[in-house]
C-alpha cells in the first residue's frame, strides 16, 4: 500500500521526470512487442536511432514535428490559462480550410503578400472555431471540454463537403482541392528536403509564447487564472477577458498548424491532413509540462517516434499503429510520473 504526500520536488528532479516517463513507456511497450514476437530493442532502434542516422530522415523528423510544435503550443497556451481546449483538431482543419481558400486566390500576388495573408486567415479561422465554445463557457457556464470536442467531427464534415463539392479537383475528380497558388507555398528551408517555413514559424511561436509566459504580466495573469480562478478574480484580474485570450489565441495557433500543413507539405486540401495532430498536441503539451521549451523538446521527440514508426512497421512486420500505442502509453505514464512533482510516494505497512 502506498500513500502520496504533498511536497515540492527540486527542479532537477522535475526536469528528469519526462525521461523517466519515456523509459517506463518503452518498458511497457516492450512487453507488447514481445507478445507479437518482435524484438523490442530492434524496434526501439528504428524508433529512436535510425531516424537520426541520415540527413533525409533527420529532416523528416523536423517536418513531422512541425505541426506538433504548433498544436502542442496551442494546447499549452490554453491549458495554462485554464481553458481545456480539446478541439485543436477541428481548429487545425479550420485553419487549413482558410489557408486553402486564400491560397487559391493568390495567383497574382507576390509571396510576401500571399503568405502573411494565409497565415492571418488561418489564425483567424482557428480563433473562429473556438469562439462558440468559449462564449458558451463564459456566458452560459458550459464546460468547454464537451463543446470543443463536439466541434471536431463537424470540422471534418465541412472539409469533406468542400472536397466532394465546391473544391473537388476538376481535373482528377479526386476529393482533394486544386493546388494553391505557387506564391502561397511556404519556402523550403533547405534544398532537396521537405523542411519548410512552417518549422520556423512554429519555433517563433514557441519563443514568443515563452516570452509572454515568463516576461509579461499577461503571462502571469493567465497562469493565475488557470491555477486559481477565484484568487485571480479576487486579485483584480479580469478573468473572463483573460480566459477569452487563452481560448482564442490557442485556437489561432492550432489554425496555424493547419496552414503549415497546407502551405508547407500538401499544397492542397485533403481530408487526411491531420492524423490526429490536435490530440497529439495534448500529449506534447503534457510531456512538455506546459513549458514552451519542454513542448519543443517533446514535439521533436514525438516527431522522432512518428518518423521511426513507419520504418519499424516495415522492418518488423508489426502494424503501423504501434507508434500510436506507444504515444498513448506515453501520455498516461507521463501523467502518473508527473505526480512526483508535487507528491512523494510513501510506502506504509498496515499494522495487523
Amino acid at each position: 500500500m502506498f500513500r502520496l504526500e504533498r511536497t515540492v520536488a527540486p527542479l532537477w528532479v522535475q526536469a528528469l521526470l519526462p525521461v523517466v516517463a519515456v523509459v517506463i513507456t518503452f518498458a511497457l511497450t516492450a512487453t507488447l512487442l514481445w507478445l507479437v514476437n518482435a524484438n523490442p530493442l530492434e524496434a526501439y532502434y528504428y524508433f529512436l536511432v535510425d531516424p537520426l542516422s541520415n540527413r533525409v530522415s533527420l529532416l523528416e523528423v523536423l517536418v513531422k514535428a512541425t505541426p506538433l510544435l504548433l498544436t502542442g503550443a496551442a494546447v499549452t497556451w490554453a491549458f495554462t490559462g485554464g481553458f481545456w481546449n480539446i478541439g485543436a483538431e477541428g481548429q487545425l482543419y479550420a485553419g487549413a480550410v482558410a489557408a486553402t481558400a486564400v491560397g487559391l486566390q493568390m495567383q497574382n500576388m507576390p509571396p510576401w503578400v500571399a503568405i502573411p495573408l494565409m497565415i492571418v486567415a488561418g489564425f483567424a479561422a482557428g480563433m473562429l472555431w473556438v469562439l462558440v465554445p468559449v462564449l458558451m463557457k463564459l456566458k452560459l457556464g458550459i464546460d468547454e471540454v464537451v463543446t470543443t470536442l463536439l466541434l471536431n467531427p463537424v470540422a471534418l464534415f465541412i472539409v469533406s463537403w468542400l472536397l466532394n463539392g465546391p473544391w473537388r479537383n476538376p481535373v482528377s475528380q479526386w476529393p482533394q482541392s486544386p493546388d494553391i497558388a505557387a506564391s502561397a507555398i511556404f519556402p523550403k528551408l533547405l534544398p532537396r528536403a521537405r523542411l519548410h517555413f512552417g518549422f520556423v514559424l512554429a519555433i517563433l511561436v514557441l519563443i514568443l509564447m515563452g516570452y509572454i509566459f515568463r516576461q509579461t504580466a499577461l503571462g502571469m495573469r493567465m497562469r493565475a487564472v488557470g491555477l486559481e480562478p477565484a484568487a485571480a478574480r479576487f486579485a483584480g484580474i479580469r478573468v473572463q477577458r483573460t480566459m477569452l485570450i487563452s481560448a482564442l489565441v490557442s485556437g489561432g495557433i492550432a489554425g496555424l498548424a493547419g496552414v503549415s500543413e497546407i502551405a508547407g507539405i500538401h499544397y492542397h486540401l485533403i481530408d487526411a491532413i491531420s492524423p490526429g495532430y490536435g490530440y497529439t498536441g495534448i500529449l506534447v503539451a503534457t510531456l512538455g509540462m506546459l513549458n514552451p521549451l519542454g513542448v519543443g523538446v517533446a514535439a521533436l521527440f514525438i516527431g522522432l517516434i512518428d518518423t521511426g514508426g513507419q520504418t519499424v512497421s516495415r522492418a518488423l512486420g508489426v502494424p503501423v499503429y504501434l507508434g500510436d500505442v506507444i504515444q498513448a502509453t506515453l501520455l498516461l505514464v507521463t501523467l502518473g510520473v508527473l505526480l512526483l512533482r508535487n507528491y512523494r510516494i510513501r510506502f506504509v505497512r498496515r499494522a495487523s
Partner: protein, 533 residues
C-alpha cells in the same frame, strides 16, 4: 442495531445496558498512549496521552493549531498516526478507518458536517449502514424518527439536509452517531456555529446523554463553555499535553495559563480616534447568494475613519455575501455602496482596490494562487506597477517581496511556493499585500480562523495599528471574543440584515446572542437557514 430492547426513561439513572456487560474493572472508554502525528515538518501531535472515562464529558482544550482536531481524527480513523496505541474499553484497537471507529462505538461530529446536502435526513443517517441491496425508505424513516425521539433530538427524517439550519444539521450529525451505536461521541468545536441559546440546548442534550452512560469528548477553545459542561479537561499546546485536570477543581485562569503558556496580551486598544465622518457607507444593499436566494436585504452600515466596526453573527446569515460585494466579486441587486461619498456600487475588484479598499477574504486559500511563489502572490494585485514597456521586471517583484518579508516577519523566501507556508504566514502575506497600499478602508473577514496564538496576536495588532493611522475597518467575524476585543462598535447580522449596532460598552454576550438569533427572546431554535448547501 441500536434497539437494545431495554427502554430507558429519560429521567432514570439506570446505566445503559451495554456498559453492564463490559469489564467493570476497566473504567476507561478510550485510552490513547504516545500518539504522534507529523505533517511534513509540522508535528501536530507529540507523544500525546489521552484517556476518557466512561460516562464523562471530557474537554480537549487548546488554541487553534494545538492538535486537538488532529488527535480526534486519528481516533476516528481519518488520519493514521505515525506512532502510538489506542485502547477502546480496555482492549487494544487498531483504527484505520471511520468504519473501524464506528465498529468500536466511536462517533464523531466534525466542524464541517459530513452530510450530503441533496439527500434526506434519513438517507444521511443510514448512509454506509444499509443492510442488503434495497433501500427500504419508509421503514428507515420510521426507525430514524423513533431514534430521534429516543435521544431527545427534534428532526423531521424526510427533510432534505439542504433545507435545514446549521443547528439542525448538527443535530443530524449527533443522531447519526448515536444511531450507529456510538458510545463515545467526539464533538469538534460544536458551538462555533451556534447561538448562545442553541448552545444551552446542546448542553442539555449532552447531559441527558451522559446520564444514559455515553461518553463525550468536547473539543473547544472556549474556556467558559469548558467550565460549564465538562467533567475533566485535557489541555494541548503546540501538539503536546500540558495538563489534565478535573474541571471542578480548576479555574478559567489556570486553564488559560495552561492553554497559552504565558500571559495573554490582548490587543491594546487606543481610545477611539474616529472623526465621525463615514468613509464607507452601505445603503440598502441587497444581493443574492449562489442559489439565487436573497442573502442580503437592505443592509445599512457606515464605517468611519479610525474606527473598527465588528460585524457579528452566526455564519450563514449573509456575511460571506456581504464581504464578496465589498470585494467586488459579487454583484448586488439593489442599494448603494459609497466610498468617501462616491458611488462605487458593483465595482470590479480592481475598482474597489483603486478606490482605496483593502480586502482580506475569509478564504485564505482562495485569495492566493497556491502554486505560485510568495513574490508573485505579493505582486499579483498590482502587476502593472512591475511592468515597464510591456516587460515584467522579476527583479522588482523580488525586491518588493523581500521588503515585505522583512517588514512583516514572514517566514518564507520570495521564491517559495506559497502553499508550503503555514496558515499564519499566508495570512501575513495577505495582510502585507493589503496594508502596504495604505488602504483607507479595510474589509476583513475571519482573519484569525485556524491561526495559532502568535499569529492571531500579530493580525490583531496590525489591524489596531491601521486603525490608529486612520483606516476605517470592518471586521467580520464569527469569533465573538475577537470582536469584543477589537471593535469600537458592534453590528449584528441576521438573515441578511443588520439588526442593530451597539457601542462596544453596551455589547454584552447575552445581548449579542439575542440579536444573533433574531432578537426575539422566544426564538430558541436559532436562525433558520433556507440556503447554503
Amino acid at each position: 442495531m441500536w434497539d437494545v430492547g431495554c427502554s430507558v426513561h429519560p429521567t432514570s439513572h439506570i446505566p445503559h445496558p451495554a456498559f453492564l456487560m463490559t469489564d467493570i474493572f476497566n473504567d476507561f472508554a478510550v485510552e490513547m498512549r504516545g500518539v504522534t502525528k507529523r505533517f511534513g515538518d509540522l508535528v501536530a501531535n507529540d507523544h500525546v496521552d489521552f484517556t476518557v472515562r466512561r460516562g464523562e464529558i471530557h474537554a480537549l482544550l487548546g488554541e487553534n493549531g494545538a492538535g486537538k482536531s488532529t488527535l480526534m481524527r486519528i481516533l476516528y480513523g481519518l488520519y493514521h498516526a505515525d506512532a502510538g496505541d489506542i485502547a477502546v474499553e480496555g482492549r487494544p484497537a487498531v483504527i484505520h478507518s471511520p468504519k473501524a471507529a464506528i465498529a468500536h462505538g466511536i462517533g464523531m461530529v466534525s466542524q464541517h458536517f459530513a452530510l450530503v446536502a441533496p439527500l434526506t435526513v434519513t438517507e444521511n443517517v443510514i448512509l454506509g449502514r444499509v443492510d442488503g441491496v434495497r433501500l427500504r425508505l419508509d421503514a428507515a424513516h420510521a426507525r430514524v424518527a423513533a431514534a430521534a425521539q429516543r435521544f431527545g433530538i427534534d428532526l423531521d427524517p424526510r427533510a432534505t439536509v439542504k433545507s435545514l439550519s446549521v443547528g439542525q444539521r448538527q443535530r443530524v450529525e449527533i443522531l447519526k452517531a448515536l444511531y450507529h451505536n456510538a458510545r463515545l461521541l467526539i464533538l469538534d468545536e460544536p458551538t462555533a456555529v451556534l447561538v448562545p441559546q442553541e448552545v444551552d440546548q446542546l448542553f442539555e442534550n449532552l447531559r441527558f446523554l451522559q446520564q444514559q452512560g455515553f461518553s463525550v469528548v468536547f473539543i473547544s477553545h472556549k474556556l467558559h463553555e469548558v467550565m460549564t459542561i465538562t467533567d475533566r479537561v485535557t489541555v494541548l499546546r503546540l501538539g503536546k499535553v500540558v495538563g489534565s485536570v478535573d474541571t471542578p477543581a480548576s479555574s478559567r485562569m489556570q486553564l488559560a495559563a495552561l492553554m497559552v503558556g504565558r500571559e495573554t496580551m490582548a490587543a491594546v486598544k487606543p481610545a477611539t480616534t474616529t472623526t465621525g465622518q463615514p468613509l464607507l457607507e452601505l445603503r440598502d444593499l441587497a444581493a443574492l447568494d449562489n442559489q439565487g436566494l436573497r442573502a442580503l436585504r437592505a443592509v445599512n452600515l457606515a464605517v468611519a475613519a479610525g474606527e473598527i466596526v465588528g460585524l457579528a453573527g452566526v455564519s450563514g446569515n449573509g456575511q460571506v455575501e456581504l464581504a464578496e460585494v465589498l470585494s467586488g466579486t459579487r454583484r448586488c441587486t439593489g442599494g448603494q455602496l459609497l466610498m468617501e461619498g462616491r458611488d462605487i456600487t458593483n465595482g470590479t475588484p480592481a475598482q474597489m482596490m483603486a478606490a482605496g479598499i483593502g480586502r482580506i477574504s475569509e478564504d485564505r486559500h482562495a485569495s492566493v494562487v497556491g502554486e505560485m511563489s510568495v513574490a508573485q502572490n505579493l505582486a499579483l494585485e498590482h502587476l502593472d506597477e512591475f511592468t515597464r514597456g510591456g516587460r515584467l521586471s522579476h527583479r522588482r517583484i523580488r525586491q518588493h517581496a523581500e521588503r515585505l518579508i522583512a517588514d512583516y516577519s514572514i517566514k518564507a523566501r520570495p521564491d517559495d511556493s506559497i502553499r508550503t507556508l503555514s496558515g499564519g504566514n499566508i495570512q501575513k502575506c495577505i495582510l502585507a499585500r493589503v496594508i502596504e497600499r495604505n488602504p483607507k478602508v479595510i474589509v476583513v473577514a475571519q482573519p484569525t480562523r485556524g491561526l495559532d496564538v502568535g499569529a492571531t496576536e500579530y493580525v490583531h495588532n496590525k489591524l489596531v495599528e491601521q486603525q490608529a493611522k486612520g483606516a476605517a475597518i470592518l471586521l467580520i467575524s464569527e469569533d465573538l471574543d475577537e470582536i469584543l476585543a477589537l471593535a469600537d462598535r458592534i453590528a449584528v447580522m441576521y438573515e441578511g440584515q443588520i439588526l442593530d449596532v451597539l457601542p462596544a460598552a453596551d455589547a454584552t454576550p447575552a445581548r449579542l446572542g439575542l440579536l444573533m438569533s433574531g432578537g426575539d427572546p422566544n426564538r430558541l431554535t436559532g436562525p433558520h437557514m433556507t440556503r447554503n448547501a
